[in-house]
Chain length 208, copies 2
């Protein structure tokens, strides 16, 4: 047996636990899932679970960290900065909405907010490993686009905050309040296209 595996991961069933936890947490949030549920789902004893993770929170944070990372990488891979601004924004917007509307995005958000005062580290970790990355990339991209003469942005940080928010217009609030839980591709296109149009109207350099 390869010695590295024992060093890198702390035991044979480490990933099993993580996978089970991810499934349940992402589907039902944090509080409504018991440690017993996770152990059962992961086909692992509770004692084993606690031999890997000090407590439920830490387990959740690890799940969240990994999942955020995965989502960020997926979105980033879909972007080609060589494309015109409108195209890039469209891709980013649609990708963002996909995350926001996914089981993961929704539950991640829910837990961050719900548990905000009981463990604040989570919300901050989420922001740093999720939205923050998007905003940073957005800033960098706007700089490139400005160098290409496609846009003029005085306050880049503000613009980078505005676009993602614009993409969630109408969708996010209805989602989190439970007023609407399913969104058609048409609805998504309408809001993303609307966001791109608005963004370009404000920052785009006129044709020519």
């Amino acid at each position: 047996m390869n010695k590295n595996s024992a060093i890198i991961r702390k035991g044979r069933k480490y990933d099993q636990v993580l996978d089970g936890a991810r499934d349940l947490f992402m589907a039902h949030g944090f509080e409504s899932i018991g440690v017993d549920d996770i152990a059962r789902r992961a086909d692992v004893s509770k004692a084993t679970l606690y031999s890997y993770f000090p407590d439920k929170r830490m387990l959740f944070m690890e799940v969240a960290r990994l999942e955020c990372q995965r989502q960020a990488e997926t979105l980033e891979a879909a972007v080609d900065v060589e494309q015109p601004v409108e195209v890039v924004l469209g891709v980013v917007g649609r990708g963002l909405l996909e995350i926001v509307l996914s089981e993961f995005g929704w539950n991640m958000f829910r837990v961050c907010i719900a548990e905000g005062e009981r463990f604040p580290e989570l919300g901050q970790q989420f922001f740093e490993t999720g939205p923050k990355i998007l905003i940073d990339r957005m800033c960098a991209f706007l700089e490139i686009a400005e160098a290409r003469g496609e846009v003029i942005v005085e306050d880049r940080a503000l613009a980078a905050d505005q676009f993602p928010e614009l993409c969630k217009a109408g969708v996010f609030l209805r989602l989190v309040t439970g007023v609407q839980t399913e969104f058609s591709q048409d609805e998504i296109d309408r809001v993303v296209d609307g966001a791109v149009e608005m963004f370009m109207a404000r920052y785009g350099v006129k044709a020519g």
Copy 2:
């Protein structure tokens, strides 16, 4: 003693309970507050409390309903639709941010999301009595403004969703994740003014 008061309100200490509940819920959210805490704060016995409200949820929903109503009225009173669009939007934006950043707004939101799956009615009630009202008024105002020739808005519902979202750019996410909890007037002005500028760039009718 006036007979109506007995009919309208169900007992002498009804308001006492409501007030105590509001204070605690708005300051600490839903789950972290116990029914015993509320009874103690309201100077009322637990049994009395339960003689007015069937359970903790219903108590919270009533508190939420009243508070939403109050906030909506305050914001509405501050608006003068006779003013130019830019001015009205500025007032609305600043008023909205004040609500969002307040103890009430923040906790209201938190609870809606946190308890979303345990009692969905709350989120929906919140949406209907809060954001929905703003959006509706916004639509109506855009129609008026368009009649005055100040703006041209093809998709009014979308625009009415976009503006409030734009006002929260950068602020909301940092707030709920706990990354930033205090916002200076300068920061608020920057984002609201940015929102108005962007909105006018997209929908405003050029000078003249």
